[in-house]
Symmetry: C2
Subunit: 350 residues, 2 copies
DNA sequence: TTGAAAGCGTTACCAC
DNA sequence: GTGGTAACGCTTTCAA
């Protein structure tokens, strides 16, 4: 009987020594062990030390699942990204991890890859209690959660806002940034400025396009402007966009790209066709891709404080959960405009 | 009393409707509901349908934690990456997710960022039962797990092997790839070939350096070869390496870089100094970075089947867990050598 | 085919 | 301060 039980115990997969074992070893009640291990001041310092000692020696590791079940919190938050392979998200995630580390809250990452099924599966993690909160980098609240309004405080959107009201948001002012970049091109004397945009359903790319248009209109140049929207914003889309632009009668003398990757692809094609960058055609990108400085020509771009967005987003989430309040106002962090070689020098037009 | 209880229930955070509620609604026992929901054929098709219906209507969602606690499996595997911001890991993760999706196994990702504490915290997820298995992309078995040999079947290393014996491995033959790349440069008539290596403690970079040396020695060119090892393998390290190379009396006529990023940095500096790439100096990178094709000049490189590595790694892990066997032999997938402009054309020396 | 009951390992509540 | 006990929501025997 005893042998069988021992065998059964050994055969079980995970951490074998439980709080009950510790209790037996220490000659106290399991609840005391629980309290001691969680550092409750209701337990003598002495007993606490003794129990900690025993726990350590016996290699005790708390069972996450049991703890989660009983205490109704997972100590984990879930980050939903559209595509983990996009270079920009990992930096944000790093920031999130950084902010949550000190609270001993783990971060789990799930990418939707555009699949709605996957989105729902991930969203359930919040509902089932596998995660205490949700950080959305995909600009979309999973339908599953749209109705469960009492979850709104457990959700924060970073970079891309979601349409639903009441969801906290942390990002940058994309419209303003695009306006500033366009104005910079204008200040260099460029007049025929095109815009290669990203997917226009995306609020982020819509804002960048808006910013561009604003600057052009204010300069009285709305006629020459040219906005393109692609279903993607990667290098291949940049190549396509450039080919399309090159097929027209009159070329632009500058292009504001909605992402650095779009710019990479566009510049590649332009150079292949013998166009001099930046002399004939200036470029500005968006996002400060790691390669943008090493690229030839080094790419002028807007640097988004991704890491800091992650930190602030995580902090906002914690604040909402702990204090059970809404952070209604969108929080916008400053971006940085990085001037590099791809725009040429001042005085182009003179 | 009843009111208080109801209030308590409402106040509880997560999914409110439980298996017991469904049971009550359906007029059956909770165990029947459990069986029905898991599709057990021991339940009448009729009852099963009815229960499914009720569950759906009431918005029932199974509590992950309770299920995990009882059934002793998490239906989740953990992927440990050194740095989620490195471009290469996400592709592998995508492959892993892809392979596990059909089994309804979730993927959680944790990055160690070189911190041992973080590594241990992540490793515990396996021990506490929060994860059923571990996929290591960091080339290192957390110390925590080194002694727990009975966990070895729940661990698979991808890309970078771990030193510990008995851990399954999936990767490519880096040594062979480096040899092939070097031979290609030799075939173009290049003779003074340098190597910019990554951190030499890393088996992956050590293998690439070895492959380079082998090719050089076999060509009788060991004297002119030049291996450098940096603590990193990013763009900044590439710049540093190139500056160091440029400070010497005699320049190489080709450089094999241990990563595309190293190549990006090195090429940038070389071009800034007026060196013609590839005419004077040819380059080969490693990993087929997304930007490598758009880079100027387009970078010759070795393409690693990252996604497929992820798929195979995940499948291997499942096989080990389900069949409880070891997959002892390292599994090597074929890489692809992509010739682009950065090496120039055949006949350089003639 | 279904019901009853016993746990999984932990924490929370109520006594003492 | 500590012990006892119930409960978290589910799965899984064992009976019926």
């Amino acid at each position: 009987m005893t042998a069988e039980k021992a065998k059964g115990k050994a055969a079980r997969s995970n951490s074998n020594v439980t709080i009950v074992d510790i209790a037996r070893l220490a000659g106290v009640n399991p609840s005391t062990v629980s309290r001691a291990l969680s550092g409750s001041s209701a337990v003598t310092l002495q007993t606490r030390a003794r129990i900690a000692q025993i726990a350590k020696e016996s290699g005790y590791i708390a069972n996450h699942n049991a703890r989660m079940l009983r205490s109704r919190k997972a100590n984990q938050i879930l980050v939903i990204v559209p595509n983990i392979a996009a270079f920009s998200h990992p930096d944000v995630i790093l920031g999130i991890e950084e902010a949550l580390e000190e609270y001993n809250i783990g971060v789990i990452v799930g990418s939707t890859k555009g699949s709605e099924a996957r989105e729902i599966a991930l969203a359930r993690q919040l509902v089932t209690g596998a995660a205490d909160g949700l950080i959305l980098l995909n600009g979309r609240l999973p339908d599953e959660l749209g109705e469960l309004t009492h979850y709104s405080r457990r959700i924060v959107a970073i970079s891309r806002p979601v349409a639903n009201p009441g969801i906290a948001f942390v990002g940058i002012d994309n419209e303003q940034a695009a306006t500033e970049a366009t104005r910079y091109l204008l200040s260099l004397g460029r007049k025929r400025i095109a815009h290669i945009g990203g997917p226009e359903q995306s609020p982020i790319f819509a804002a960048r396009a808006r910013g561009y248009r604003t600057a052009m209109e204010q300069a009285g140049l709305e006629d020459i402007s040219d906005v393109q929207h692609f279903s993607s914003f990667d290098i291949a889309a940049g190549r396509d966009a450039m080919r399309s632009i090159l097929s027209r009668k009159q070329l632009p003398d500058a292009i504001l790209c909605a992402s650095d990757e779009l710019a990479f692809g566009a510049i590649q094609v332009a150079r292949e066709r013998g166009i001099k960058v930046p002399e004939q055609l200036a470029f500005i990108g968006f996002d400060n891709h790691p390669v943008s400085e090493a690229f030839s020509p080094a790419l002028t771009t807007i640097s988004v404080p991704r890491r800091r967005l992650g930190v602030l987003g995580a902090q906002t989430l914690l604040r909402q959960i702990d204090a059970d309040v809404d952070v209604a106002e969108p929080q916008l962090l400053p971006y940085e405009f990085l001037v590099r070689a791809s725009c040429g020098r001042n005085g182009f037009a003179s």
